[in-house]
């Protein structure tokens, strides 16, 4: 029986000071560079920011991030719609998942924890094709990005 079916938790230790990691998360331009989205404006509590995905092959995808908390330099959280890729659908009325980034100084750098929760509130009428991503195609794009960033 799986331990958790209503949230995703990730942990990564980054070899950098907390303030460096904080900036990479909360500065919209920097966030966009590694997340691969071109955001239209800065992150601000209570405000929504729209952006266009910049993955090769996925440029038709847009996303909207609604910032919840910016508690320097320890918690950054926002709401969004996972996989909102259908240009004909108005996702703004649908329930969102919550993404929380927490930072903690550890020996060797910064421990970053990411939790995404709220999957049980996804609407029942979301079209299935929004999720019909070809597995191998997506993996290939990830590889492209990896090469690009490393190069």
């Amino acid at each position: 029986m799986p331990t958790s079916l209503d949230r995703i938790e990730k942990e990564i230790t980054l070899r950098a000071p907390k303030s460096r990691v904080w900036r990479a998360l909360t500065n919209a331009e920097e966030f966009g560079e590694w997340f691969r989205v071109k955001l239209e404006g800065p992150f601000a509590v209570g405000k929504s920011v729209h952006g266009r995905i910049t993955y090769p092959g996925y440029e038709h995808m847009t996303m909207a991030i609604s910032v919840e908390r910016v508690d320097a330099e320890h918690l950054f959280s926002f709401r969004w719609h996972p996989y909102s890729i259908d240009p004909k659908v108005d996702y703004s009325k649908e329930a969102t998942t919550l993404v929380e980034f927490r930072l903690k100084e550890v020996s060797g750098g910064t421990l970053l924890t990411v939790v995404e929760s709220g999957f049980e509130k996804l609407p029942a009428d979301r079209r299935a094709e929004a999720f019909r991503m070809n597995d191998s195609g997506w993996q290939e794009q990830i590889e492209n990005v990896r090469r690009h960033v490393a190069g």
Partner: protein, 117 residues
């Protein structure tokens, strides 16, 4: 248990199907009932309820929610209702979260490269 399932039964679920599935799973008692069915096999309502601080009515309601979400199936044995897991649906919920989980793994790797280059 999940390793034994076929790829077809583990295919990622679309959003349309995902919501009631996760709504059904978003309850501690219901997760507990699924866990009991997972480890104990087909069980009657009474057996599933044993030792839980929940009324028979509440347990029945929970089982109906799980049933409506396609996570469990039931059959009659005399006057008793016997419940059993529907493993495909749980596999689908898994696959859905696995996919999002992979996305996060990749995003965090990009973050790591971005920061540590």
């Amino acid at each position: 248990m999940f390793d034994a399932m076929s790829p077809a039964s583990r295919r990622a679920v679309g959003f349309r199907e995902a919501a009631p599935l996760f709504a059904a799973l978003g309850d501690q008692t219901r997760l507990q009932l699924l866990d009991r069915l997972c480890h104990g096999g087909p069980s009657s309502t009474a057996r599933l309820r044993a030792g839980l601080p929940v009324s028979h009515q509440a347990i029945s309601k929970h089982l109906e929610v799980l049933h409506a979400a396609g996570l469990v199936r039931s059959s009659r044995r005399g006057r008793e209702r016997i419940w059993d897991l529907e493993p495909k649906r749980l596999g689908a919920a898994h696959a859905y979260l696995d996919r999002i989980s992979e996305q996060w793994d990749d995003a965090l790797e990009r973050l790591k490269k971005f920061i540590e280059h």
